[in-house]
Amino acid sequence: MVDAAPQPKVKVSVKDLAIQYGGKAALSGVNLEIREHEIFGIIGPAGSGKTSFLRVLNRMDEMTTGMTFTGTVAIDGRDVRAWRNLYALRSRIGVVFPLPVGLPLSIYDNVALSPRLRGIRSASDLDEIVERCLRRAALWDEVKDRLQSLGSLLSGGQQQRLTIARALSQEPELLLLDEFSIAVDPVTTMKIEDVLKELRSEMTIVLVTNLVQQARRLADRTAFFLSGAFVEVGKTEDLFTGPVTDPRTREYVEGRFG
């Protein structure tokens, strides 16, 4: 109450999270907080449990055979396990995958899918949403003349932006990006990074990345996972230049392994 600077609001809080697949541990000991309107980076070599972490945030464990987790994950202070309608929880969280997924529907329907599932039927409302989301994802100019062609036949870079437009059409509070630049050319990557910087004012972004420099460019704070264990979390810049609690973090960000 008497803090000089108001603490930023916590969006996601994770306590003692551990994830298993068929009883085998995939990630453990995660304790961190993600603040509202920040870009939160997660770095670490392949197989360190980053994707599994994202899948817990929107409770995709429930759709994944053998996946279980312990500990608490709360979004806006509410335990994700407490949700009776998981689909409603997921609809508030946008996800972008490593490999772009343009659904085999028209470009228009790709973006209109989520609003339609939410019950929006009016053509003018849908038109407006589709255009707004495609513009925000920096794709509108390239596809505005062929909105009825298949989204799944776009180029990789375009499909990735379509995926982002689709995630934005959910009007998410939380946007999860999982190594989005893996299958995308550098120019598109830069375009998407610019989009993300703009989106920060509207939502909280969790950016899992295999590129340490990408985290450095975008993330306010960053967590480091290593082979199934949470190592540490801190201001992104601190991981590169400031004090680190674990020497492996510095070794990793400086490219000495991974």
Binding site: Y87, A88, G102, L105, L117, L150, S152
Partner: protein
């Protein structure tokens, strides 16, 4: 330096011989089909006319056409489709979209394999015991079609499941991550992209069902009926049984007549098969992702 050594040349000769042997074996299987089809067309062809397809058999089934049998086969197949397609598609959706790898799924898969392997005459016994007697449908189109439907179920399930599973998992994941329920995902992305494959399977089912004889012999098909069935509780004639009857049970049938009936039956079956094959080829050529 790269000249073929003698051993290699010898190998190549052996290779060519084996290739020829395997080709010959393949031809032994496929040539009879062509011969059979040829004979059916040559001997049955002259029988086929508009009148043959649109008149009733007369004079103790030694003359006349096949109309009641043709309509009967169509009715039997249609009712069987109506009964088996919804159940079969539901089962396939369950197996492909909902089922976890547990004992229930394994049991269902085992049941499907066995359902496909049960002899057709045992299906006939089941149809008689269950539909004709126990459920008291009598010997009727309904009882015969339900028997055919149970027989055809594995065909529908297996082909539908294959087309559902041809839709990449990533599409489902993308929908689930947007908050779509499993059913919304199936309805918006999975089914629309597998419906053609499912149809292919259904056409194949039509082809198989139209030719079946044993399952309908005691459940609803009649040797001869002077009238057309009025409801699903009536008996009916059927092409397959008609062919059996006039080629084994009726004296004095002219030589060409059974060939004509066989040609009509094989024509329907192969037409359906060709449609199914053409449909499948077209599907394979169409790129949607």
């Amino acid at each position: 330096m790269f000249e073929a050594r003698p051993i290699n040349r010898q190998n190549q000769t052996i290779e060519r011989i084996w290739r020829g042997v395997f080709l010959a074996m393949t031809l032994v299987l496929v040539i009879p089909v062509l011969v059979i089809l040829g004979v059916l067309v040559v001997r049955g062809g002259p029988m086929i006319s508009w009148a043959f397809l649109t008149t009733e058999p007369t004079n103790g089934m030694t003359e006349g056409g096949v109309l009641p049998a043709l309509l009967g086969t169509i009715a039997l197949v249609l009712v069987a489709l109506i009964a088996s397609v919804p159940v079969g598609v539901a089962a396939a959706v369950y197996l492909s979209e909902y089922a976890a790898d547990n004992w229930l799924t394994r049991t269902i898969n085992l049941a499907i394999i066995n359902l496909a392997g049960v002899p057709s005459i045992v299906h006939a016994l089941f149809g008689l015991g269950a539909f004709v007697l126990f459920f008291q449908f009598g010997t009727s189109i309904l009882a015969a079609s339900l028997t055919l439907a149970v027989m055809a179920l594995p065909v529908v399930i297996v082909s539908t499941r294959e087309s559902l599973q041809a839709v990449p998992m990533a599409f489902r994941e993308a929908c689930w991550n947007m908050g779509a329920t499993r059913w919304q995902t199936i309805r918006t992305v999975v089914l629309p992209n597998s419906i053609s494959g499912i149809l292919t399977g259904v056409i194949l089912e039509v082809s198989r069902t139209a030719g079946e004889t044993a399952p309908i012999m005691f459940t609803g098909a009649a040797f001869f009926l002077p009238f057309l069935p009025q409801s699903v509780y009536d008996q009916t004639m059927a092409l397959s049984l008609h062919l059996f009857v006039i080629s084994t049970q009726v004296p004095g049938v002219p030589d060409g007549l059974p060939y004509g009936v066989a040609l009509v039956l094989v024509g329907i079956v192969l037409l359906m098969n060709s449609v199914s094959i053409a449909f499948r080829t077209w599907l394979r050529g169409r790129k949607k992702w």
